[in-house]
Structure formats: structure tokens, C-alpha cells
């Protein structure tokens, strides 16, 4: 990282997250555990989305669909007695990655507005699919009997353990993401966002790289979904509703597109705000809506870029 302020903020933030369970235990407020776990899970989804949205310039409005798939990939096997976390979570990432492959293969043939609309449409299609399958709860959803089992190595039913597992996933994701963004692959994705015709002119078949990024983001979304359903021990198709996609996008934008760490901040702010506002009034979205408009109009670069830091050489 090129900036001390940002590096410090990141470290402080992660440490802070690490200490939440301690604070929660001391203050006897397990609610905080839940809240911040939820925040981190969405942060994971947001970081995944940032890869394609912020770095790749692909405005995918259907990201919630992958969370949904990941969630179902945990709930359905559990319903039939398969409770191994290893199986479920791997399945979650594989299925959502596959879905991303299929959706991306078609959607990436367009760009701009069409792309936005199409990803939205496909995600909504999956939502309708989820609603109509009666066996799996239709629009009432499904309950998760037990959280994913990891054969005694890790016990997710313990809220604190689960918390640190999520934190671990987030940190790992950030670390891997950091490497990816600066490696050849990341450079291609970022350059394609900057000037795709040029990329093709110098010899990059950009389609395959964008598709790969799309799949990676989808798989990460699936993992987030698996975590989410473990968190809530419940699952409804509404997880896939397009407004959820919008929420995740807002987290990325609010935090800072293309910054990798910004979306984490975005998730924190967004969900905290949601929490605070909904305590005031059931109609909190009336405030959130215009707020969002204002952010887009005036604070476009996101919160992370408000921190002093060299933008230049990183591209």
C-alpha cells in the first residue's frame, strides 16, 4: 500500500473487527457479534463484486444471485442430511462459479447498459426460480437445521468461533485479492476497464479474462452466501432479490470502487446505517434512497479515497 494513512486504517480496522467479540462478551451484548459478523459476510461479497465492478468496470447488477446460490448450496444438502461444511461450502463456490460462467458467457457479449440490464434480468430469473420451487420452501424459505459441520475441528454453533472463521475468510480474501490485483491477471482486468479496444489491439483476448474474473467474483459471492445462511440459520429467495444486489453495489461504491479495502468500509457504514436508521423508523429507506442519490452525485469516489493516499502509480 502506498499510503501510511491507509495502511494504518486497514490494520486498525481489522484489529477492531478482531476485538469485537471481546467487547461483546465483556458488555454482554451478543447482538454486536451478530451484527459485525453480518457486516463481514457482506464485506466478503462486496470485495468479490469490487473485483469485477471496481477493477473491471463490469457493472453486474445481479450479484445477489450468487449469494442465493451459495445459500441454497448449504441449505438443500443440509435438508437431505449432508451437513459437512467442506462439502457444502465447496459446492456453494462451485455452483455459483458455474452460474457465473453461464451468465457471464452470455452477458459479457454486451457492454454498458445492456450488460447492466442483462445481469439484472438473469439474477431476477434465478429469484423467480427460487420462489417457484415448492419443495424448497418456495417464497417462505427454508430453515437450516444445523450450521455447517466441520467434523469437530471447528464448531460453528459457537458464535465466537464462527465469528473468527468469518474474519479469517475476510482477511484471506483481502490478502489473495491484493496479490491478484497486482498480478498479470489483475493488470489485464484493470487495463481492459481503462481501454478495452487497445487491449485487443495489442493482442489480449479480453473476453476470457473478464469471464474468469466474473466467475471468481461469483464464487466469492457463493461463499458469502454459504456464510450468510449459516449466520441466519434461515434462507429465503429474497436473498437473491435484485434490491439485495443493489445493496451490495452501494457498499462497493460507498466504500470506494476499485480499492479492494474500500468495500469493507462500505459494508460497515451501510449496514451500521441501516441498523441505526431502522431503529428510528420502519420507513428508513425513505432516507436511504435520497442519501444514496447524494452519495452518487457528490461523493463518487467513496470513503476509502477520502483517506490521504497516493493514487498515481497504482493505476
Amino acid at each position: 500500500m502506498r499510503s501510511r494513512a491507509r495502511a494504518l486504517t486497514l490494520v486498525a480496522g481489522l484489529l477492531g473487527l478482531g476485538l469485537v467479540p471481546v467487547v461483546a462478551a465483556l458488555a454482554n451484548q451478543p447482538f454486536y457479534l451478530d451484527l459485525f459478523r453480518r457486516i463481514m459476510i457482506f464485506a466478503i461479497a462486496a470485495v468479490g463484486l469490487d473485483l469485477i465492478l471496481g477493477f473491471g468496470g463490469m457493472v453486474s447488477f445481479g450479484h445477489a444471485a450468487y449469494l442465493g446460490i451459495g445459500a441454497y448450496a448449504v441449505a438443500i444438502p443440509a435438508f437431505y442430511g449432508i451437513e459437512s461444511g467442506l462439502v457444502q461450502w465447496t459446492l456453494a463456490m462451485a455452483l455459483s462459479g458455474l452460474a457465473a460462467l453461464a451468465i457471464g458467457a452470455v452477458s459479457l457479449r454486451t457492454s454498458g447498459v445492456s450488460f447492466i440490464m442483462i445481469t439484472l434480468a438473469f439474477a431476477q430469473m434465478l429469484y423467480y426460480l427460487g420462489i417457484s420451487i415448492n419443495a424448497w420452501g418456495a417464497d417462505d424459505g427454508m430453515r437450516l437445521a444445523r450450521r455447517s459441520q466441520f467434523g469437530g475441528v471447528v464448531d460453528l454453533t459457537n458464535g465466537y468461533v464462527f465469528y473468527y472463521v468469518v474474519l479469517g475468510v475476510l482477511v484471506a480474501l483481502l490478502a489473495l485479492g491484493h496479490r491478484l490485483v497486482h498480478a498479470r491477471f489483475g493488470v489485464v482486468i484493470r487495463a481492459a476497464k481503462s481501454n478495452e479496444p487497445r487491449m485487443r489491439a495489442i493482442g489480449f483476448s479480453t473476453f476470457r479474462y473478464k469471464l474468469a474474473a466474473f466467475v471468481i467474483a461469483g464464487a466469492v459471492g457463493g461463499l458469502a452466501g454459504a456464510l450468510l445462511t449459516n449466520q441466519t440459520e434461515y434462507l429465503t429467495p429474497s436473498y437473491m432479490h435484485w434490491t439485495r444486489s443493489g445493496d451490495i453495489m452501494v457498499m462497493v461504491i460507498l466504500g470506494g470502487m476499485g480499492t479492494l479495502y474500500g468495500p469493507v468500509l462500505g459494508a460497515v457504514v451501510f449496514l451500521l446505517l441501516e441498523d441505526i436508521l431502522s431503529a428510528w423508523t420502519v420507513h428508513w429507506q425513505v432516507v436511504l434512497g435520497p442519501l444514496l442519490v447524494l452519495v452518487v452525485l457528490y461523493a463518487r469516489r467513496g470513503l476509502w479515497s477520502l483517506l490521504p493516499g497516493a493514487i498515481a502509480r497504482d493505476g
Binding site: A183, F185, V187, S194, N195, R200, G203, R313, G315
Partner: protein
């Protein structure tokens, strides 16, 4: 005579009612520099677009290095050794000049499904990039953000990016567009040095540049090649003079 490096036959492209290129035939021998001139709207950029793979022709064939490339997409042609520079500067403004050229190198240095090693650390990418920047005269501007380079320097960067792909054929679309006299001179020097080692197809308006560089000239008007040959021949051609009525051809 050996088969030309680039052989174009009957290349035609229509946009709605407008025929941009109308049955164009061209041959470019290896190592020669062909300049394509013509009034605005003659279809020169459309021609370049079809040669580079950005535009699909409605009719005609393109053979490059003995292979029919008409159906191949742009990136594949680039990998075969066909490079282009753009008339309207097309670079990666948020990256440094060195990054820009390194990208060109990267495109031809194996696949980019590498997720771990930082690209900046790969010497196999950085060294050739630096060398190419030196070659075009931008060696000391390597770490400047491409978007902040002067216009002339950006045009040089355009050429560098094409060069770094180690092409056999360079398609240069108005390389000195928008440049002042000094900058044009420098570009001409640079392109002169490339002559012979690379085959060059050059679209240009600036006649001084054309006559300084071209081995042969083809003249396009309304999408057709109306004359083709050595510079002196073209200079003297009555039809060409007519087409350029009002424009200066220095006698």
C-alpha cells in the same frame, strides 16, 4: 517474387448506404513502407480497421504472412505479428508509460492467468518495455502517468505500444496527427530507423512525412485505390492531382 507479406483483395465495407472501402486491392512486400494517402473520408481508417481486425469486411480477403486472416479476430492477428497504432490516441491514461508498454509485452509473453506474482516485478516484461521506450525516445518519461504526457509524447507511446508486440507489420494510422513541426521530425526519425526491419503501412495526411518515409504510395479516393506506385510517379499523376485539388503537393 516472394509472396507479399500482406495481400489484400477486393476488400469492401459498407455502412448503411455508404461504401467506405470499395474493392480495395493492396500488396505490401516484406520490409517495405507503403503510405496510403487520400482526402478525408476516403476510407483510409476503415481500411486500417479491417486490416487490424476491428471491423469485419463485407467482402474480400486479407492474407498475412501466407495465411488467410480475414476471419481472425483482432487479438489473434496481433499475436500473428500485425500491430497497429490509432489515429486518435488510445492508451491507458491511468497507468505509467512503462506500464503501458509492459502491457504490450505481456500480451505476447504467454497467458495472463497468473494470480500471484506482481506483474511489476516481472523483469521479462519490464526490461523489453523499457528498451522500447528508449527506442522511441521516451526513456526518461517511463514513470510518468500516460495521461499526463504531452500530446506528441503520447503519439510516441502509441508507436511504442505497437512496437513492443514485436510485430512483422506495423499499421500506423496518422502517427504525426496533431503534432508540431519538431515533434513530427522526431517521429519521422524514429520511423526511418524502423524501415527495413519492420514492414510498415502508413496512413498519413502530412505529405512531407509521406515522401520522407514511403517506398511506395497508394492513393485512396471514395474507398477505391486510384493509383499506386513509387512516390515520384504518384507525384506526377494527373488524376491524383485532381483528387487533391486545393491541397498542396510539394512539387
Amino acid at each position: 517474387m516472394a509472396e507479399p507479406l500482406l495481400a489484400v483483395r477486393g476488400l469492401t465495407k459498407r455502412f448503411g448506404g455508404l461504401v467506405a472501402t470499395d474493392g480495395v486491392d493492396l500488396d505490401v512486400a516484406e520490409g517495405e513502407t507503403l503510405a496510403i494517402i487520400g482526402p478525408n473520408g476516403a476510407g483510409k481508417t476503415t481500411l486500417i480497421g479491417q486490416l487490424s481486425g476491428d471491423l469485419a469486411p463485407d467482402a474480400g480477403t486479407i492474407r498475412f504472412a501466407g495465411e488467410d486472416v480475414t476471419g481472425l479476430p483482432g487479438p489473434t492477428r496481433s499475436r500473428r505479428g500485425l500491430a497497429r497504432s490509432f489515429q486518435i490516441t488510445s492508451i491507458f491514461p491511468e497507468f505509467t508509460a512503462l506500464d503501458n508498454v509492459a502491457l504490450s509485452v505481456q500480451a505476447h509473453a504467454g497467458h495472463s492467468f497468473r494470480f500471484w506474482t506482481p506483474a511489476r516485478a516481472e523483469r521479462a516484461l519490464r526490461e523489453p518495455a523499457r528498451a522500447t521506450l528508449e527506442q522511441v525516445g521516451l526513456g526518461d518519461r517511463a514513470d510518468v502517468l500516460a495521461g499526463t504526457l504531452a500530446h506528441g509524447e503520447q503519439r510516441q507511446l502509441e508507436v511504442a505500444m505497437a512496437l513492443a508486440t514485436r510485430p512483422r507489420l506495423l499499421l500506423l494510422d496518422e502517427p504525426v496527427a496533431g503534432m508540431g513541426a519538431d515533434e513530427s521530425q522526431r517521429m519521422v526519425h524514429l520511423l526511418r530507423a524502423l524501415r527495413g526491419r519492420h514492414t510498415i503501412v502508413l496512413v498519413e495526411h502530412d505529405m512531407d512525412v509521406v515522401f520522407a518515409l514511403a517506398d511506395r504510395i497508394s492513393v485512396m479516393v471514395y474507398g477505391r485505390v486510384i493509383a499506386s506506385g513509387a512516390p515520384e510517379v504518384i507525384r506526377a499523376n494527373a488524376e491524383v492531382r485532381r483528387a487533391y485539388l486545393g491541397e498542396e503537393i510539394s512539387a
